[in-house]
């Protein structure tokens, strides 16, 4: 029997960022005529998150420039935003959510787009540092900007050499700060890229005046008379007015867990983003989902995944199921370098590098497992990114010797093996 989408049905969404907001608009577009209510504890109208650590931080723009949708768009689609509101629990037997003030909101369908929050490691003395920030929200940016404005030496230590840490370092350097990045591993971006890319970014930061130090395991903090000291296991120490922590995220799983939903490395969902409760879906950073291309369960921190799962969940709820089948893609902007990444390199056993002739750095790193292309990282090279996407999607076999020969025109016909 087909479901009757009557006007009084209610879809509740917890989390109004890329996933939640895109879901709400997709749901309306897919034909949902009932209520749509979005909850988020962040009081600001939903905004793009990726620019926060990049251009937004450095350009000192107002957050209005960064909104995902205008206020009028929500009104026009009759999507109700309840911002600055925390949901404290889910009552599955009553199909309702309970808010912090004790009030109850019932749902016919519930979407968990709860995302993640930065890890603040429990390192000795960390609570004594007054100017310690992570970066995930517009408020975080505001706090960092203010701290930098009033700081005496404008010295910043960034703990963690992942994308967030490096983007923040580049932005703060542009804003006149003197920045040191401390990375625990032997190289920056160790978890996500090939050593060649780590070297490239380390040199890029050095050239721009950011001191990137690896093998630096922070073991304690000490704040005395306004001076923050960061002490590493090798005995070295660093002083800074401001400390930024970018060492990864915790998935916001508490609501799902307490409601008894199936959890692995995230909220487990099927190919339509449905959890083990038929009325509850989960999308975005908080989900543990199957990627058909790589045929394994993964959790992704990305806009692409949030948006794609939002569309899939909306379609499923409106009875027009789509199947989640997309390649992950990501981007990072640091200084004048644009890095675009497609695919997941996990499990690679071969890396090929193609350098283009160019005044500025322009190259691409191709990750293979034997003959199978897994992923591409493209630096100032959108063409490589686009070709890589096409090749990975199509499971194409590539002539590897031609690939690395930049005198051969970068066209599929020149690179593919029939």
């Amino acid at each position: 029997m087909s479901e009757n989408l009557s006007n009084d049905r209610t879809c509740v969404v917890i989390g109004a960022s890329h996933g939640g907001v895109n879901f709400a608009f997709s749901l309306r577009k897919a034909g949902w005529e009932g209520n749509i209510i979005l909850f988020d504890k962040d009081p600001v109208l939903p905004y793009h998150r990726p620019p926060l650590s990049k251009g937004y931080l450095a350009n000192k723009d107002a957050i209005e420039k960064n909104f995902l949708k205008s206020v009028e768009s929500y009104e026009k689609e009759n999507i109700v935003l309840k911002l600055g509101v925390t949901v404290t629990s889910i009552n599955r037997s009553e199909n309702s959510v309970i808010l912090k003030d004790g009030s109850v909101q019932v749902y016919d369908k519930l979407i968990l787009a709860t995302g993640a929050r930065p890890i603040i490691p429990s390192i000795k003395g960390i609570e004594t540092i007054s100017n310690l920030y992570s970066l995930r929200t517009a408020e975080d940016v505001e706090n960092i900007r203010n701290a930098l404005t009033i700081s005496q030496h404008k010295s910043v230590v960034v703990i963690g050499g992942g994308y967030i840490g490096l983007e923040v370092a580049a932005s703060l350097q542009k804003m006149g700060a003197s920045v040191t990045v401390l990375e625990r591993e032997q190289r920056i971006l160790a978890r996500v890229t090939a050593p060649e890319m780590s070297t490239f970014f380390k040199e890029l930061h050095a050239k721009n005046g950011v001191d990137v130090q690896t093998d630096k395991n922070v073991i304690s903090f000490n704040a005395k008379e306004g001076v923050n000291t960061i002490i590493c296991s090798d005995g070295s120490s660093f002083e800074a007015d401001i400390v930024i922590v970018g060492v990864g995220i915790h998935v916001n799983l508490e609501l799902a867990k307490n409601a008894g939903l199936e959890i692995e490395n995230g909220i487990r969902v099927d190919a339509t983003a449905q959890t083990n409760d038929k009325d509850i879906y989960a999308i975005g950073d908080c989900t543990f989902h199957h990627n058909p291309h790589y045929d394994r369960f993964i959790r992704l921190e990305s806009v692409q995944n949030a948006v794609d799962q939002a569309k899939v969940a909306a379609a499923a709820i409106c009875g027009k199921p789509l199947v989640y089948d997309t390649l992950p893609w990501f981007w990072s902007d640091q200084y004048d370098i644009k890095l675009q990444m497609v695919g997941l390199s996990t499990g690679y056993n071969k890396v090929l590098i193609r350098n283009e002739e160019s005044e500025n750095p322009k190259f691409s790193i191709w990750y293979f497992k034997d003959d199978t292309l897994l992923a591409v990282d493209a630096v100032n090279n959108a063409k490589a990114y686009v070709l890589g996407t096409k090749f990975i999607k199509g499971n194409k076999k590539i002539d590897q010797s031609k690939l690395i020969d930049s005198t051969i025109d970068f066209k599929p016909a020149n690179l593919l093996i029939e």
Partner: protein, 104 residues
């Protein structure tokens, strides 16, 4: 102010007025179907692909290298293709007509 006409893939014409910001932002704020702007306007996602009316190419200028590269293998790209996050709204664009491209 500039009046800009979007023609969607369903052949609906939507006329919008903008004073500043990118054309992508104007379209997203007004819910123009087919323009998503998932990356927020940094030329990373190619979800704001439009075809500029041939007689208006002079107003908008041609696509930059990164736009062309992003659309390199797009079946719906042609010489009038632009990623409209890269077009800033100015008075000079008044009267511009854009056809929203089919999505990939």
């Amino acid at each position: 102010m500039a009046k800009i006409t979007f023609v969607t893939t369903d052949n609906e014409s939507i006329i919008l007025e903008g004073a500043s910001g990118s054309i992508m932002q104007l379209a997203v704020d007004n819910g123009v179907s087919g323009i998503d702007g998932d990356c927020g306007g940094v030329c990373s996602c190619a979800t704001c692909h439009v075809h500029v009316a041939p007689e208006h190419v002079e107003k908008t200028g041609e696509a930059s290298e990164i736009e062309t590269d992003m659309l390199e293998l797009n079946d719906h790209a042609n010489e009038y293709s632009r990623l409209c996050c890269q077009i800033e709204i100015t008075d000079a664009l008044d009267g511009l007509v854009l056809q929203v491209a089919e999505s990939e």
